[in-house]
Subunit: 200 residues, 2 copies
């Protein structure tokens, strides 16, 4: 990458980062080219020339949030052996990320789900496809733990993946809305009890 | 109540009901006197004279939602014996209400929590006090089940009440955002597994 291309890429990343902060604080619908331009000290047309329309920027934010989540939660877990060790790493990293990142910034995916749940359109479709992609990855990891004999043969991957997602949503709610500093600690205890109830 | 007072009360209830529908669809911040006036075919000043300011109307909506929830979920459960029968009735009625009411209308309390989590002010304070009131009622019911010997003596009421709330949040997310018709069914199965893991 030459210096000019690199600078352009950094500017684009700064724009998307600013839009992500804005969406985390006020919701995906709060993203406008002008609001983001003000945050990065560019003109509105300068933002447009780098990321395109408001809709393109909203989509870029969803994709960037998804990339960070996958990088923090799923990628390091791939180094663990298939089965319960990998599943356990995913869940513990997800709890930790919710405690260390989403507790302060908000979770664009959960808040976005409650923001867009009764709307239609490309933004909802993109967010939905990202959430379903995680859920499918989580379900596959549960299935591998069943195949390895680490979880009972009658474990429903759909059920357990849904329960894990629900526990994390509860943690996010309790830490951000109730501002309960014990939330992450409780979610860890819930996960330990949950996995025990599915163990062979 | 004379006929005139009754009519005034009906009009007030219609205003609050319209504001509740609006908040369920678009969020508490979407409530404005004008938007509600348009829905009930009154003038803006006609709405103001009956409910007061926009803030008073938002508060009335939160209180009305709370009353309906308590009436549907907690009040009927009080007819069950203290302990697990009562706790089980609360959870099953909560799952059913989430399936039959919130799945279509949205849940003002959960969506409101993700809408207001990083704001300050009277609206957040009121919503928080309502949510804490339910959570406390749920915790007391768990404690009674422990005292009755229906749940293990080492059961943490805080933990179990948080897990139940998380399961319902997961159901709401999955039915409204994923539009998964199996969500309520899965939450029932989760509740049965959850309570079993705490049973003496």
């Amino acid at each position: 990458m030459d210096a000019k291309t690199q600078k352009a890429e950094f500017t684009r990343m700064a724009i998307i980062g600013a839009a992500l902060d804005l969406a985390a604080a006020e919701g995906l619908e709060a993203i406008t080219l002008q609001a983001v331009a003000d945050r990065v000290q560019l003109s509105k047309s300068g933002v447009f020339s780098r990321v395109g329309s408001r809709e393109a920027l909203q989509k870029a934010v969803i994709e960037e949030f998804g990339r960070r989540f996958i990088a923090d939660v799923f990628v390091p877990a791939m180094q663990q052996p298939k089965g319960l060790p990998r599943l356990d790493t995913i869940v513990r990293r997800w709890i930790a990320r919710t405690r260390d990142v989403e507790a302060h910034q908000g979770c664009i995916f959960t808040a976005g789900a409650f923001e867009l749940d009764d709307r239609e359109g490309e933004l909802r479709d993109l967010l939905l496809s990202e959430v379903l992609r995680w859920r499918a990855a989580l379900r596959r990891t549960v299935l591998q733990a069943v195949e390895a004999g680490h979880l009972r043969a009658d474990t429903s991957a759909d059920q357990l993946a849904g329960e894990i997602s629900a526990l994390i949503m509860g943690q996010l709610h309790d830490v951000r809305f109730l501002r309960d500093p014990q939330a992450a600690h409780r979610t860890e205890a819930s996960w330990e009890r949950l996995v025990k109830s599915y163990q062979a």
